[in-house]
């Protein structure tokens, strides 16, 4: 059994494939590819594969991680070509390697998004003043009920730019087996503290990172 880690993009129409549907979609993609996928043993054998992180419905990504096993050794480039030949529109494998790190090494994810508004300068100021504050409080639903969380310590803005019709942001948020924040928390906080309406557009996960900001591989 050979362990394989693939990185794939999910863009365009493919961003409307929910996580549950993505599972089924991947199963069929493997079957179409004709690759010798390793099946689990036991009463109900099924192909083993797993996604490192779930991606919110409607988000794009250039860095999704898919682990699976093969029954025999096949050149990575061939694995990539065979899968890409049968992937749905908007999904494409960008690399196939042997897994180096354990999934638990994932600590953060980086996102980029544009906030569309008629008054970009005002929105830009709103964001800056929110980021300059002491804390950024949001209400987070948990199993035990709603609790107020300060997301500021864990949020790391890496880019903030004003364009013609939008403010473009990139930021790192905690991700992985422990804490998962997603940019919608930032939108919510900005709606609470800001002064102008905006619509998020093209939210894209651009990197999955380890604690030291190195790319998870």
């Amino acid at each position: 059994m050979i362990k394989v880690r693939a990185v794939f993009e999910k863009k365009g129409r493919a961003k409307y494939i929910s996580h549950l549907d993505l599972n089924r979609c991947m199963l069929r993609t493997f079957r179409r590819s004709g690759l010798p996928i390793w099946y689990t043993e036991g009463f109900n054998p099924h192909p083993y594969y797993s996604f490192a992180l779930a991606l919110s419905l409607g988000y794009e990504s250039s860095c999704e991680i898919l682990d699976f096993n093969l029954n025999e050794e096949i050149p990575y480039s061939e694995v990539m070509d065979k899968l890409n030949a049968v992937m749905p529109e908007g999904m494409r494998i960008t690399s196939v390697t042997e897994p180096k790190l354990k999934i638990t090494a994932i600590a953060k994810a980086e996102y980029t998004f544009s906030l569309v508004t008629d008054v970009t300068d005002k929105l830009f100021e709103d964001i800056k003043s929110m980021l300059g504050g002491e804390e950024i409080l949001i209400e987070k639903k948990t199993k035990k009920g709603v609790k107020t969380v300060d997301i500021k310590p864990e949020m790391e803005v890496t880019g903030l730019e004003c364009s013609a019709d939008s403010v473009d942001v990139s930021m790192r948020l905690p991700a992985g087996t422990q804490t998962n924040y997603n940019p919608s928390l930032f939108f919510e906080a900005l709606r609470n503290t800001g002064t102008v309406p905006f619509e998020p557009r093209i939210i894209c996960r651009t990197a999955i990172l380890c604690e030291d900001n190195s790319v998870f591989a």
């Binding site: 129409r13 494939i17 979609c25 199963l27 069929r28 529109e89 908007g90």
Partner: protein, 620 residues
Amino acid sequence: MNLREKIEKHLLSVQKPSRYIGGEVGSVIKDKSKVDVRFAFCFPDTYDIGMSHLGIKILYSLKNSRENYWCERCFAPSEDFEAIMRENDIPLYALESLDPISEFDFIGFTMQYELSYTNVLNMLDLAGIPIFAKDRSDELKNIVVAGGPCVCNPEPLADFFDIFILGEGEEVNLELMDLFWEMKQQGATKHEFLLRASHLEGIYVPSFYEFSYKDDGTIAAVTPLNGAPATIRKRIIRDIDKVFYPENFVVPFTEIVHDRISVEVLRGCIRGCRFCQAGFIYRPFREKTSDTIVEEAKLLCENTGYDEISLASLSTSDHSDIDNMLTKLLDYTEKARINLSLPSLRVDNFSESLLEKIKKVRKSGLTFAAEGGTQRLRDVINKNVTEEEIMNTCRIAFEGGYSAVKLYFMMGLPTETDEDIVGIAELAQRVVDLYYSIENRPKGRGVQVSVSCATFVPKPFTPFQFEPQDTQEMIEHKQKLLLDSVKTKKVKVSYHDPSVSKLEVILAKGDRRLCKAVYTAWKKGCKFDSWGEYFHFDRWLEAFEECGIDPAFYANRRFGYDEILPWDHLDYFVSKEFFVRENKTAHNAVTTPNCRLRCSGCGVNKCVGRECFDKSQGRI
């Protein structure tokens, strides 16, 4: 903002958005500047249901196999998305190009059941296309067509469509598109196109026929206009083994009702159950060879990645080479880790060896359509199944480890008495008793017999087309009687709302005067009539009353043998004389043997020009 941006802006606020954006594996994208004819294939129900339909897959692939034609899919939006579409001026669009279907040359609907009629009107309205054919322009575009089983009596839809396509579509659809392209290049009008189309076999242009009525409300005459033929004959494919079959299906992201590959096994049916429309309108019986079936199954599995196959037919066990076919299929499916599911297996030729083969694959429920509670009634409807056969099959199943059986019945069948209803409960009880009499029955498990009882709907092109439906009061009495006759909790009874069946029969047997009522009902908010939560019979009754229509005239009246029926000008190969003969035989509780045993002279062989079963080919 272009249409795609408009759609995407709202997509995340609706349920299962992947239904509205396309992009599935197997969907066909072409450059619209390079195609000559565009066809929007519309299914008048939601994506989850429409995508499960086999016909759309066949015709989609077929049309797209022609480089210069582009066929796209379109479904009825669910209520949440429809509200958004109406609020934000999003017109009904096709899933491949995301272009409005009002830009298409053909807008084609498949009419699978009567309760989807209002959805057609709603979809045309969402598309911004005038609902009545007479209100649409004479420009050669937006030809609204329909096919499918319901168009064997399309009169209640006649005012909304330009063309009905009768019978099997594989050849005539392309002929129609060819004619369209030829005439489009000549700059013809829609009327000129319809004139020529009306001479293609299988093409019915309803506006070229005038109906007149007698004082008693029955039809006086159907008069063809513009030189259209007096009768329109359905199309069939002569060589079913060679007919186009898709090598690929569109593979949806979201889960749909039938989320698997369908491989067609045969068309038509030899049985002649007198209530069954499909058993007559799809004649003659034709089967694919086992090799073709296995080949098509393999190709589809490889191209789609599905891991489940079902065999599509009216009665798979009537395939003359069933054992060999299943053996070959199972050889492949076992190796390729694919599930094989087999619907439509009849009780009477359900052999132990066949059951053994199916058991190897998967243990699923057992379902038997007994249809009638007593042997007399089963003889009336020509369901040639005896109680002994039902018991035998159940015994084999119970000994093989099954402990749940579903039995399907109908209520309100011709000549039915209270005794026949009590007979349903008694039959179910005997199945329960049988279970406990078997020594090697499944250990530690009780038996569960589910009795499902539908209300009989007499349909056109069946021997029962003349029959009245039981009134709602009669059905309610019978439902209560059945419930009172069941004495054990091991038998569970379920039945349908009789008002749904009443609407079904009115639309199935109705004539052209019903178009107004369909329109009025839709105006009153009726749509998705087949979905319990959207069914408003009161609105339909109001619509009938406002349009001066007496529902009982269609639902509860016996149609005369000599009466001109609304579908008499359509030729589905089976003669009216045969239906009259069969109707009389039914009332004498006499059965008719299946077509393999003896030809009963339904008339199909005359239309086809050959015997249905060629003994020299060993296909009997």
